[in-house]
Symmetry: C2
Subunit: 670 residues, 2 copies
C-alpha cells in the first residue's frame, strides 16, 4: 500500500472554510465575467472539494501524469469552474488566474465543460451527464487490473468522482454502478452533490428515487452527510477509503451556497448570479477581495496541499526505479504495444492468404485476436453479453470477477453504454488497451460514450458484429441501416468494414496502432470468402480503399463496396464482363476516413473517371461523395426484415444481378 | 371502474398446466422449424403467461384495437414465440398455425422479434432490450392521463410487461422505473423473468444487483414468487392490481423449463433445442402431440379465455355509446387533430410574416406551440430537464405530478431515453400526441427509442434545440456535429431544420400532420431573422426545399442551406452580387426527406444546373447528394469548441465571406 498516512494534523477549520470560499468567489466571478456558465454547483460543492483536495487526493500538479495519482472525475461537468478554480489554487502551471478570466473563451484552457487534453490534470471530458461516473468505473477497474499485474507497489490509487442529480438520473449510471458494485471496486468513491435541484427546479418534479437504497441494492456502501460540515466530509472520506465496496457519499448541499438570495434555487444552476447578488454573496461570506484575487494566506494554504501527493509520488518513483518490471510498466503506461503483435499479425495474414480462409469477419476477428492477445497482455477484452456472438474472447483469457482482477476478459452485462464509458476510463487511465463487443445496431445504446472516445482521442476499439441484414432472422430491430452513416459522420473515429480475413487483420492492426483515435470494427455474422488476390505483404486497408481488381485495358465502370458486399460486387464484375463485356474496376473500401487522408492522386486512381456504383447493405447517406454524378447506389432504402440472410439480400435487391442491371443502365447512359 | 370481477372460478390447475405446455410445445417446435430463435424464455415464462392471459388480461382478439384493452408488452422481445403462441391459442384471426410454422420467414407475421403492425395485438416493437419496459411506462402514463380527461368509465386498464434480465440491466430501465415510481403508475405491472441466465451464462457473471431492493428504492411494490407455481402467480397478480404503486413481480423461473437436459442453461436461450432434446421434452412434459398440433380440449380452453375480455369490451362500448364525449374520445383515439390547430398555425404564420418576427427557432417553436396547445388538448409536452432551454412549456400547461394526471406537461427528468420511449408508449396507446425536448446533441442518449419511433411509424415529435456550434460556450460536448447525418440516415424519420419563425410553424404543422412518421425539430439557440419574402399562404417547407430567392436572369450559383445558416447564405448571396456580380439562387432546405419525395422536375428546378454550395454548421456527410460534382461545402470538419457563438462561426469559417470565397473559386472553375 503506497497511500501514505495523513501525517499532518487536519488544518484549522477556519482555514479550510476560507479555502472553500476562494472556490466560491472564483466560480461566481468567472461565470459573471464570461456571462455564461454554472456557478451553483461549484459553490455548493466547494466544501466537499476542499476537504477532498486538501486532505485526501494524492496528486502532484507538477507531474500531472504521474501514473499512480488518484483520479478525480468531475462527472457533473457543468460545474467546470470548480475544477478550474482548484487547478489555479493548487498551482497547475497551465492554469494561471488569466485562464480563469478567460473562462469559456475561444482558445482558453477553461472550456465550458472540462475537456480532456485542454488543461493538465483533467482526467476525462465531462458534460454529457452520467459519462463521468461510468468513466470513473473504468478507471477504478483499470487500477485494480494493473495492481493485479504489477502489484500494489506500482498501482494503488483511489478514483473519486463528483456526481450530480443528473448523473444519477441518467440510465447509464445504473449500468455503471451495477458493474462497479458487482466487481467490488472498493477504491471508487462517488461524492453525490445531493442538492435536490436540477435545471427545471426541485428534483421532486421528476424523481422520488431513494438513491442510498438504490446504491445499496447495487452492492455499494453508502454514507450520508451534511456537505457543508467539514469534519463530516473528512470522516466520510476516511470511512469510504476503508470500505470493501465502492462508496457513495451522499452530500446534502445547498446549490449556490453562499449566495444569500439565490442560494438553494435552480437560478444559480446555469446562469451568472449578477452583480448585485455577487456583491451580497461577498458580504455574506465576509469575502472582501476583488474578483480573481485570492488573499496570500489562502493561496499559500492551497499551494501547500499538494505536498502530500508530491511526497507520495517521490516514494512511488523510488519503488518504480527499483522494480524489475519498470520497463514493462512504463511501456504499458505509454501505450506502446510490443512489435511482436504486429509481426504476428503479418504472419497471420500470410498464412490465411495461403490457406484462402473463408470465414465470417467476426470469426476472422476472433482468429486475429487470438494472435494479438497471445502477443501482448495489454489488451482487455469484453462484450455486452454477446461474447459468443461477437467472438471477443480468446483461448486462455480469464474473466475479471469480483475480487479477482488478474483476468483480462470482462463480462460487461447487457450494458453497452457502461461498457463504452468504462473502456474510455481504462484507456484514459493508461496501461491497458480495451476492446469490447456488441451488435452494430446497439451502437445506438453506446452512442454517448462512443462520441466521447472520439472527442478525447482515445484508443478504444469497438467490435461490432452482425453488421447488416446479413444477420438474418433477428429482423429490423437488430439490423443496422443508418449506423454506418452515424459512425462515419462522427469526427475522429475510424470506421472499418473489412471484406475478408486479410482485411480484418489489417484493420485490427490499424486500430491497435491508432493511439489517439477510437476504431469501430464492423463485422459480418455470415461467412465471407477470402478475396485478396495478391500476397498481403503490405496493408492495403491502411489506404482506406484500394483497387482489388483492375480491368485489363480500359475501365468502363468502378464498383465500390465494403465488407460483405465486396463479394457480391466481385460476382457482379464477373457477370458484367461475361455477359456485357463491361470492364469493371473493383474497389474495396474498408475505411472512408483513411481514404480521405490519402493524396489526391491516389484517390483519383482508385475512383477512376468511369461511372461508379457503390454497394453497401446500409443507407445511402454519405455515399454520393464517392459515387459522383451519373452513378448509382445499391443498398438499403428502409429498415430490414426478419428472414434468412440470403433471402433478405434478394428481397432488398442487393445481388450481383441487381448491380449488373444498374451497371448496364449507368454505362449506357454514360 | 370497468374491470369486471373474475366471475368464473379459477380453471382447474391441470388444465392450465396443459395450456402452458401448449405454449412450450409451440415455441420449441417453431424455433426448431425455423432453425433460429429463442425457445428458452417462452418455455420459462409459459406458466406466468398462461395465468396472466387466462385469468387476468382483458383483451378481445376479435377487436384487437379496442381502446380500453389491457396492454401487454413483451419487453424481452426475443421470446417472441411466447406472443405468437398466445395469439394462435387465443384465436387472433391473423395468426393461424401456418404463421407459427413460418416463424422468422420472409413476409410472415411471426418476425424474429415482435413487430408493431406485423400482427394484430402486438402493442409495440421489442427486441432491443429495455425498450419494452420503458414504452410500457408511457402506455401506463397515457392511460392515467386519458382517464383523468375522459373518466374511468372510458379509460381504465392495466399495462403488463414481461421483462428479462437484459431489460433490467439496460440503463434505460433505470430511467423508466424512476419515472413510473415517481408518478405512481399503479396500473403498471412488470413480470420479471428472473431466470438468472443471460446469453453469456449465469447472470452472476455480470451483476450482483438486488433487483427487488432497487425497485423498492424507485417507489415500486415488489412481490417475489415461484414463476412455475400457478396459484402463486395468480395471487401475485391479484395483489399487484390493488397496489397504489407500480408493481414488479419477480418470477423465479427455469429458462427452457420442460427441457430435461438443457433446461436452466443458457443453451436454451437463443438456439433450437435440437430434435433429441425436443423429443425428450415431449416425454418429460407428457406431451405426445405432433409439432404444431394442439389437442382439442387445450385449444378450447384457450379459446374461451377471451370471453372475459369480450364481455368487458361490450360493456365498455355501451358506456362509450352513452357518453356525451364519445365523439371527442373517438377523434382523439383516431389521432385526428382538430382543424383549428392548422387554421391557427396559418394565422400565426401570416401575423409573424407581417411583423417580421426575429427570434431563435426554439423561441419560434414556443410561440407556435402556444397556438397549437391552445387549439387542442391532445398534445402532451415535456422535456428532459431542459424546459426553459427547449421552450417546450406553454401558458396554462399544468404538470403531470404524482397522483394527478390532469396536466399535460411532463418533467421527464434527466432521462432522454425514457422520455423517447415513454413518448413511443403514449403514441402507441393512442389519444395523445406527445412531444418532448432536449438538446440535439443528447439525441445520442435517446437513439435506441428514436429508432423505434421510426421503425413503428409513430407520431412522436422531438424538439431538439441548441442545434449547432451556435449554442456557444457549452462547448463540443454539447455541440452536435454528426447528429443531423445520424437522424437523416434513419429511415422513416422527418428531420426538420427550419430557418426562421415561418418555417418553424410550417415544420410544426408537418410534424403534427405526419400520423405515421416521427419528426425531429432541430432548432437554434441563437436569434434568427424572419427570412420569408412572400406572404406565407402555402407552406414552402412541405416541399422539403424551395427557392427562397431567385436571381433575375441567369443563375451563376446555387447556395443551399438549412436553419441558422440560411441567414449566412443570404448574406453571402448579397455579397457575391455586389462585389462579384455573381447571381445566386438561395435554397432553404428544411427537410431533406420531403424534398426527396418531390417529383424530379421540382427538384431539378430547385437545385438548378449551376454549381452548388451547401452551408450547414454540421458534418458534410450526406451533403454531396445535393452538392453534386464541382461544388463545395461550408460547415464543420471536426468537433466544435467552447466560445461565444459568433466567434465560433468565424473560427470555423462558416461566414458569408468564407462562402463568397468558395463561391468565387467554384464559379471560376466552372
Amino acid at each position: 500500500m503506497n497511500q501514505i498516512a495523513i501525517e499532518s494534523p487536519a488544518p484549522a477549520k477556519t482555514d479550510e472554510q476560507l479555502m472553500a470560499n476562494a472556490i466560491r468567489a472564483l466560480a461566481m466571478d468567472a461565470v459573471q465575467k464570461a456571462n455564461s456558465g454554472h456557478p451553483g454547483m461549484p459553490m455548493g460543492m466547494a466544501d466537499v472539494a476542499t476537504i477532498l483536495f486538501n486532505r485526501f487526493l494524492q496528486i502532484d500538479p507538477s507531474r500531472p501524469d504521474w501514473p499512480d495519482r488518484d483520479r478525480f472525475v468531475l462527472s457533473a461537468g457543468h460545474g467546470s469552474m470548480l475544477q478550474y478554480a482548484l487547478h489555479y489554487l493548487l498551482g497547475y502551471e497551465d492554469m494561471p488566474i488569466e485562464e480563469l478570466q478567460r473562462f469559456r473563451q475561444l482558445g482558453s484552457r477553461t472550456a465550458g465543460h472540462p475537456e480532456y487534453g485542454h488543461a493538465l490534470g483533467i482526467e476525462t471530458t465531462t458534460g454529457p451527464l452520467g459519462q463521468g461516473i461510468a468513466t470513473a468505473v473504468g478507471m477504478a477497474l483499470a487500477e485494480r487490473m494493473l495492481a493485479a499485474r504489477f502489484g500494489d507497489g506500482l498501482v494503488d490509487h483511489f478514483t473519486y468522482a463528483i456526481a450530480g442529480d443528473g448523473c444519477l438520473q441518467e440510465g447509464m449510471s445504473h449500468e455503471a454502478i451495477d458493474l462497479a458494485g458487482h466487481l467490488g471496486l472498493s477504491k471508487l468513491i462517488v461524492l453525490w452533490d445531493d442538492n435536490r435541484i436540477s435545471i427545471d427546479g426541485p428534483t421532486s418534479l421528476a424523481t422520488s428515487m431513494d438513491q442510498p437504497m438504490r446504491f445499496r441494492a447495487a452492492g455499494w456502501s453508502v454514507l450520508s452527510i451534511d456537505g457543508h460540515d467539514l469534519d463530516a466530509i473528512a470522516a466520510a472520506l476516511e470511512e469510504a477509503r476503508t470500505s470493501d465496496r465502492p462508496t457513495l457519499i451522499a452530500c446534502r448541499t445547498t446549490i449556490g451556497k453562499g449566495a444569500p438570495n439565490l442560494g438553494g434555487s435552480e437560478k444559480t444552476h446555469g446562469a451568472p448570479l449578477g452583480a448585485a447578488e455577487i456583491a451580497a454573496t461577498r458580504t455574506n461570506l465576509g469575502w472582501d477581495h476583488p474578483p480573481f484575487e485570492i488573499p496570500g494566506e489562502v493561496l499559500r494554504a492551497w499551494r501547500t496541499a499538494p505536498a502530500r501527493g508530491r511526497t507520495a509520488r517521490a516514494a512511488w518513483e523510488a519503488r518504480l526505479a527499483a522494480s524489475p518490471r519498470r520497463q514493462e510498466f512504463e511501456s504499458a503506461v505509454a501505450g506502446d504495444l510490443p512489435e511482436g503483435v504486429f509481426e504476428a499479425l503479418s504472419t497471420f495474414r500470410q498464412q490465411h492468404f495461403e490457406n484462402a480462409t473463408n470465414v465470417a469477419t467476426r470469426k476472422a476477428s476472433e482468429l486475429a485476436l487470438a494472435v494479438i492477445n497471445e502477443a501482448t497482455e495489454q489488451t482487455v477484452g469484453g462484450s455486452a453479453d454477446l461474447t459468443h456472438s461477437n467472438l471477443t474472447i480468446t483461448k486462455g483469457m480469464a474473466r475479471v470477477s469480483p475480487g479477482d482482477f488478474s483476468g483480462r476478459y470482462i463480462h460487461y452485462g447487457i450494458r453497452e453504454h457502461a461498457m463504452a464509458a468504462a473502456m474510455n476510463g481504462m484507456a484514459l487511465h493508461g496501461g491497458l488497451v480495451p476492446y469490447g463487443g456488441t451488435f452494430l445496431c446497439f451502437a445506438d445504446y453506446a452512442r454517448g460514450a462512443m462520441r466521447l472516445s472520439a472527442l478525447m482521442g482515445q484508443r478504444v476499439i469497438y467490435v461490432m458484429t452482425h453488421d447488416s441484414i446479413g444477420l438474418g432472422e433477428d429482423g429490423p430491430t437488430h439490423q443496422p441501416v443508418e449506423h454506418l452513416a452515424m459512425l462515419r459522420a462522427t469526427p475522429n473515429l475510424n470506421v472499418f468494414r473489412p471484406a475478408d480475413i486479410i482485411e480484418t487483420a489489417e484493420c485490427w492492426e490499424l486500430a491497435l496502432r491508432s493511439k489517439h483515435r477510437p476504431s469501430v470494427l464492423v463485422l459480418s455474422r455470415q461467412n465471407l470468402p477470402m478475396l485478396r488476390t495478391k500476397a498481403p505483404e503490405a496493408s492495403r486497408s491502411a489506404q482506406g480503399a484500394y483497387l482489388m481488381r483492375k480491368p485489363v485495358g480500359r475501365r468502363d465502370l468502378t464498383l465500390i463496396a465494403t465488407g460483405s458486399e465486396v463479394e457480391i460486387a466481385r460476382a457482379a464484375a464477373d457477370l458484367l464482363l461475361e455477359r456485357h463485356h463491361i470492364r469493371v474496376a473493383l474497389v474495396s473500401m474498408p475505411c472512408w476516413e483513411l481514404f480521405e487522408e490519402q493524396d489526391e492522386a491516389y484517390r483519383a486512381e482508385v475512383l477512376g473517371t468511369a461511372p461508379r456504383i457503390a454497394v453497401e447493405a446500409a443507407a445511402r447517406l454519405g455515399w454520393d461523395r464517392w459515387i459522383g454524378e451519373g452513378g448509382a447506389f445499391i443498398g438499403m432504402t428502409g429498415f430490414g426484415a426478419s428472414a434468412p440472410a440470403a433471402e433478405l439480400y434478394r428481397h432488398f435487391g442487393i445481388t450481383a444481378e441487381a448491380i449488373a442491371d444498374a451497371a448496364c443502365a449507368v454505362v449506357q447512359k454514360d
